[in-house]
Subunit: 728 residues, 2 copies
Amino acid sequence: MNRMNKPQTILRALAPLMVALPLNPAWGFEEDGYELWLRYRALEGAQRTRVLAHAKVIVAPAGPSLTALAAVAELHRGLSGLVGRPPELAREIRKGAIVLATPASLPAIAKLDLDLASLGQEGYLLRATKVRGHAVTLVAANSDVGLLYGTFALLAAMRTGVDLAKIDVRSAPKVALRMLNHWDNLDRTIERGYAGESIWEWHHLPDVKDARYVDYARANASIGINGTVLNNVNSKAEMMTAPWIAKAAALADVFRPYGIRVYLSVRWSAPMELKQTATADPLDPAVRKWWKDKAAEIYKVIPDFGGFLVKANSEGQPGPQDYKRSHAEGANLLAEAVAPHGGLVFWRAFVYSQFDEEDRAKQAYTEFVPLDGTFAKNVIVQVKNGPIDFQPREPFHPLFGAMPKTPLAMEFQITKEYLGFATHLAYLGPMYEEVLQADTGRPRKGSTVAKVIDGSLDGNKLTAMAGVANIGSSRTWSGSHFDAANWYMFGRLAWDPHASSRDIARDWAALTFSTDRKSTEAIVEMMMRSREAVVDYMNPLGLHHLMDTGHHYGPGPWVSELRRPEWNPTYYHQADRKGIGFDRTPKGSNALEQYAPDVARQWADPKTTSDQFLLWFHHLPWDFRMPSGRSLWDELIARYDRGVAGAGDLRKRWDRLKNVIDPRRHREVREFLLIQEQEAKWWRDASVAYFRSVSGLPLPKGHAAPPLTLEQYKSRRTPWAPGRAQPY
Amino acid sequence: MNRMNKPQTILRALAPLMVALPLNPAWGFEEDGYELWLRYRALEGAQRTRVLAHAKVIVAPAGPSLTALAAVAELHRGLSGLVGRPPELAREIRKGAIVLATPASLPAIAKLDLDLASLGQEGYLLRATKVRGHAVTLVAANSDVGLLYGTFALLAAMRTGVDLAKIDVRSAPKVALRMLNHWDNLDRTIERGYAGESIWEWHHLPDVKDARYVDYARANASIGINGTVLNNVNSKAEMMTAPWIAKAAALADVFRPYGIRVYLSVRWSAPMELKQTATADPLDPAVRKWWKDKAAEIYKVIPDFGGFLVKANSEGQPGPQDYKRSHAEGANLLAEAVAPHGGLVFWRAFVYSQFDEEDRAKQAYTEFVPLDGTFAKNVIVQVKNGPIDFQPREPFHPLFGAMPKTPLAMEFQITKEYLGFATHLAYLGPMYEEVLQADTGRPRKGSTVAKVIDGSLDGNKLTAMAGVANIGSSRTWSGSHFDAANWYMFGRLAWDPHASSRDIARDWAALTFSTDRKSTEAIVEMMMRSREAVVDYMNPLGLHHLMDTGHHYGPGPWVSELRRPEWNPTYYHQADRKGIGFDRTPKGSNALEQYAPDVARQWADPKTTSDQFLLWFHHLPWDFRMPSGRSLWDELIARYDRGVAGAGDLRKRWDRLKNVIDPRRHREVREFLLIQEQEAKWWRDASVAYFRSVSGLPLPKGHAAPPLTLEQYKSRRTPWAPGRAQPY
């Protein structure tokens, strides 16, 4: 140990020990990620002066609802932090005030030519204007929820240097139902959760409303999330019992002022498991009655209950097909039960049968397209972004555009089950954007997935986007600082599926790190590159589903012995001595036939298929000539190595930001980036070792041999990796 | 919804929404329990002035060790909070400085007649004195760890109004090994844990050293804890593999500067399960070699590894008896492996066999006393406080005093498996004190359990106390604000087993709530009454082990059908038409014979047996006349109701403190007290319903009938109550 005699040296040496010491020890506060993007650090200098002029007084609706109070509370909290003093709450409008107003609360704003009608029920505007002769910052909406959304937007504007004297912003959501899906179990474990256990303290609900629930609601309201499914789609029957409904009701009470409705995942066989019916046949009168009564029971304690989310006849879950009924008959049973109360049913289209030899990528389409138009009016069919399962890259799901008579919800995965858990930095914005901007060709060219989802193709109003949440008890909520960006991004894209993922990244980085413009851009650049690096080191060139078994942690391209054929990585890459890839052209499974002809055409020929999807749609020989001039084999290896370099590049870029990020968060992100580099190498090395054993080909020059043997990679075990699914 | 027009009314209405709003929004800080008793809130007025005079300068050992740096860091953090400015770190002693010194670092203190030698290696003194002519506050010790302990004591003194100009404190621990035992599993669940999942982020160890680990170390160092067993005594073989040893090593690195050594629980059959030996016979040479090599492997990466904790041949765990070897032969095998490295073996005496018809309370004694004197020098036999299993009240374990040739460690349970989880307020100080002050009568009168434990009866230096931790990822660490008091108290009693639990409660309350003296006393009074209330509403009059199955949540006195007879509550209360209680006198199981004759004598006669243990030692008729004049039956009912009243009284007392406790913590404690009241009623009602059905007797006047039927109480299910043990 070095001798340290000088006090300054001693203090410098303290640094690692002061890991948990606050930045400003006198005040006992240190950035730990808990505040997410809702940080209200004190502004300084000119920025503070500018904001202060508009931050002294709030005028809110009289007789305020809890929602309006939530908006006032956020302004109180935010302004206290930003300018160092709490705002005054006034009755009278005066110069410099922030005025929260709906036409109902302040008829005077009707004279201002604001075109509020076009904002709908949730939109808002922010405008520097005069009300009753006083120059104010107006937050206007048609409802108090709109005011709440506008409040968050105003606070974000203050933090990012927008000139309030000239502010003129309008925003209304393009998708009606903007939902989180929690895969939280009743024992607080989370399926595919990497951020610790569930935040729902089930054991103490409904009596204890943990402080965290309010912060959850605030974070979601700030990005426009207005619905949350509390429990895992692999649901338990007990969720439909009175004690658990009461727990859900307590959460609903906390969320309601923030505009967030509660939904529940239900298990199809619940009435039977609870020993209250003899069957779960959807056409059985006793079963129909059971669900009607159950809905009435729920709505008694949760008057604005959103409805049910259902995973049925999928991966062993029970469902209507157990009684030779269709998905539609099942969905419509539940829909009938909740319809009188204004409720909805989200019915998941994530189906694939172990008894069906058809290409897994085709099965959902095959099963659901014939049902188009047969679902009740309050049913939404929820479709994953791609036809397999949340892989780092998938083409858009063929169902988008193929069920014009049925409202379809997009289901994205925010938690990074296949993109490195909460360890690897991977901003998913480009991934979601890629899907949303994909042209389905149906009914015509230009019919992007975003337009299917937002109802603009057909005027459908029952529009929805759902994200499998990455939220847990971790202090950072999402398991890492950068994973919170994906939660933020999801909300922003649910609000506007046409938004730019780069712009969203920029907003998030600015709000989360308060960096100068140049540094913010540097963070954005890292984020925008990250997902592609993961694609490259895990599944390049359109490969998919090559992870190890069960926990999905690390590579397992060799796995071929699982109970269900389409759980095996070998099913997906089909590598052998001659070549690799899944032929989905007419020569193969013809999954292409499920796409619009114009879309299918580009993918029918490997020469016109982007390398993004090459091995998704084609089985090619190892010596197939790539556009780069390399053989497919050489290209594959090059991509793996490009991915590893990409991971290392993230870390180098982050190191260059060391002086502009607070020490603790910089260190925490860096620790994870170091793991990511190692795990990227592991993916690359194990995959290369395996594919080399299959192809028999030598590695191209300049690409190092994996340091271990294939057997060593195969024998790596991680029995307690987080997030495992429970047995069915 | 009330109309709220006045701004003040609006702000008052904000209160429930501002649940997570900081007390001082400008600074973004709110008490949430995370800081435990190490809060450094700004002092005010005269107290600040007094402390400031002694808080400006620190003089620390030159070339400081990490431990000395930890002390400096704590002073830096603490003083910055207390007086609002960080102290200066100086090389030269000057007036008003805090001087941290050992004889090695500052020989001048040898002249001060401090009698440092009697402080031993971990003790410290705090003294207002002159060093080199300057009036300073001296923190002196023989080691840097002593300085660290002294530093925490000094900061606590500053916070509780001690006059630093006159301070003169000496303290040295009376027990050498002061240990936490975490029952944390490798998947982050915690057996009998009610504070969320494990704080050990196994998946990211060893690469990521979460900030929380430092705060864990600080909290433990502040109460003198110097050892921690990281993993569940129901251990997994994998803990003995390189990746997991590396994770433990990373934690050891974080803890080392704080004087805390790491230990691991080991599974007896590990070498076989890891397929590296064919047997686990302790006398087998291959097994001996395996453990020797394993110890060497561990010590390579954890040079000061403490040693092993073992649960063997208990509740299905493997052990030496599987090979017809004794506990001593098993322990000595492991002891031999770690002895060259200075390691220890803690061998648990918690044994009871399903094949042994002897009274469960007798079995550990029967098994272990014959082994006295046969254990290797570095083995400690770890004994629970009582002979059954951590019940709300048990007589002291008969092994205390019965194995004079063997070092015995006390094992207490800090987590409240049988006292209401982390929901019920129950300060366990009086419970531990009761055990520690119990007179074993061996070798003579006055040989209290505390004197057995601290080695003062025989000069034994290998002394230890272990507490099954209540620590998890909950923001409050221990699952509730008041549960942290039990962690604090355990450390204080491990340091000095003769200390007063009331004094400890007072210190904890003052440090945790910063209340005025009167309010602090009111909190202490609540704490001192709480445990007895739990005894009354769960297991009055010496009854024990009446909880429901598996999760141990709620009452189950009717349970009689479990696989092992001594898991059944009916085994313990033996209630029937005629009477109730377990006869442990010579007429019955004669567990009394295991106590010293003088001790046994008081318990041999129900008339001389305190009501605390009446039904522990006696089976009595329902009409047995109690000292109160009531029949045993009437007394039983009265005690249950006294317990319920006691729970309600806690809440009433807490309500009277509303104005002196910060709103959030007051509310959070209150929410739990309300649950406690309900659960106390549930225990009472279910137990009364059951015992009434057995005795056939009417309830005494003034005691209400249970509102539900016995069947209803029996049919209550809580499948996902927290803390369940995993299947073996």
